[in-house]
Structures are given as C-alpha cells and as structure tokens.
Subunit: 118 residues, 2 copies
DNA sequence: CGGTATCCCCTACGATACTG
DNA sequence: CAGTATCGTAGGGGATACCG
C-alpha cells in the first residue's frame, strides 16, 4: 500500500527527490550511465565538455551519497575508478521517461485549448 | 513516435522540465492545485505558511508563464484572483507519481542488496 | 485584496592550482 | 589517473515596506 499524502508531505517528498537530481551536472552524468554503462572518471570528464574536475567529483560524491551511483576503486597504480548506477539509480529511468513524456505533451503557445474554455 | 535521445539531449530536456518545477515553493503550490482545486491568492498564502507575498507572486507568475497554471482575474473591487491548473499542469500528476514511486523504492542504507552483489 | 519594490544574504557554481 | 583546496562570482531566495 502506498503512503498517504497531503499536499505538504507529497510536495516535500518530491522536493527531496528532485533535490537529489538538482545539481547542474547530475542528469548529464546519470544519462551517461543509464543502461548499465560503466565509466571511468576521466571518461566522464571527456564525455561531458565544460565540466571542471571539482564539479565532476562533487556531483559524483553526492550521487554516491544519495545511493544512485556506485564507485568502484581498483587499487592499483595508476589509480582506476569506475562509476556505475545502483539498481535504484537505474530504476530512475522510467520516472524520468514519464517526465519527458509529460514535457512532450505541452501544447503550443498558440493552441486554442486553454483560451477557448474560459 | 518518440523523439530520439542522446545522453545530452535527454539530460537537457529533463533539466529544462525540472527547472520549471525548480522553485522553492512551486511544488507546494502545485500540490495545492491538483485535482481541479481553484485557490485565491490569499488562500494560497494561508495554506502555505512561511511564504512571502513576493515569492508567492513570483512563483505563480513563473508557473503561469510556463503554462502550468492559469490565472483568472475577476474585475471587481476589492479584486479577486483565482488560480487553477491548466490541463497540461494537471497532467503533471502521473509523472510526479512516478517520481514518488521511485523514491519509495529506495533501499534502506543497511540493506544487503547492493553490498552483496559486488 | 493582491500584489511590487528594495535590500541583503547564502549557496551553488566556476576557474585555477595543486597532490597522492 | 583521479581527484582536493582555494578563491571569486551570480542569482535565487528571504524580510520588509509600500501601492492600485
């Protein structure tokens, strides 16, 4: 059974969730990891033009801390680190798809739907 | 047929969409309008403790500009304004529900799922 | 009643230099 | 290779006062 939501609790829960995705680069990182892809730190840096090492590391740490991304360190020299999605992180995909589908439904600015009704 | 997405375009589209919901109070406002509810400005102010008139007006303007909320002005004195969701705004509900369902799936911190696998 | 206008602050973000 | 440390900035948000 689902939780019972009031406007406040529902909003707070969604807000907390969106905060997890709220970083400037997090979605880009996630989309580079969807589908079971594993990427090294330097690979992500290359795939995401414009990101600074500080931001990449920070966003990855936060995603890791929030349980979306798993970090695998190979104890060798030179160091090697791979990032992948956790099961839960991968499970984000359908939810984001729902968001995208909603965005695609947006009526054009000049569409007669909303204006006609009033 | 759905659009074709690369990691960049998908991330950018989701980002744009989440930006629409990104204000500090927007989700709270939306959840107070879901289900066809109409609310006056002062009613929203009362329903949302802590919000300042500036923020309420600003967030409503942005939601209106993004096409989620419709503003209905009754030209009378004293003035009366009612806010409701557009059809598209109401259609957000299932997408947010998908997000909430995903959030509810989050495994507990100590759960053995992720640790055991590696 | 239903808002603006103004001022201040804080945090996310960016650039750059450096390190185990 | 895979990161930290440090400094600087922009704008989103909060408190308050005022207006048609």
């Amino acid at each position: 059974m689902r939780k019972a939501y009031t406007p406040e609790t529902a909003a707070a829960d969604v807000e907390k969730t969106l905060h997890v995705l709220g970083g400037r680069w997090k979605l880009i990182i996630l989309f580079h990891l969807f589908g079971g892809k594993q990427q090294r730190y330097s690979e992500l840096e290359r795939l995401i033009p414009g990101i600074s090492p500080k931001m990449l590391a920070q966003q990855l740490r936060q995603l890791e801390g929030d349980g979306l991304v798993a970090r695998k360190l190979y104890p060798q020299v030179p160091p090697k680190v791979e990032y992948r999605l956790t099961d839960w992180g991968q499970a984000l995909c359908p939810a984001l798809d729902a968001v995208l589908q909603w965005a695609e439904q947006k009526p054009e600015a000049g569409a007669p739907c909303e204006e006609a009704g009033s």
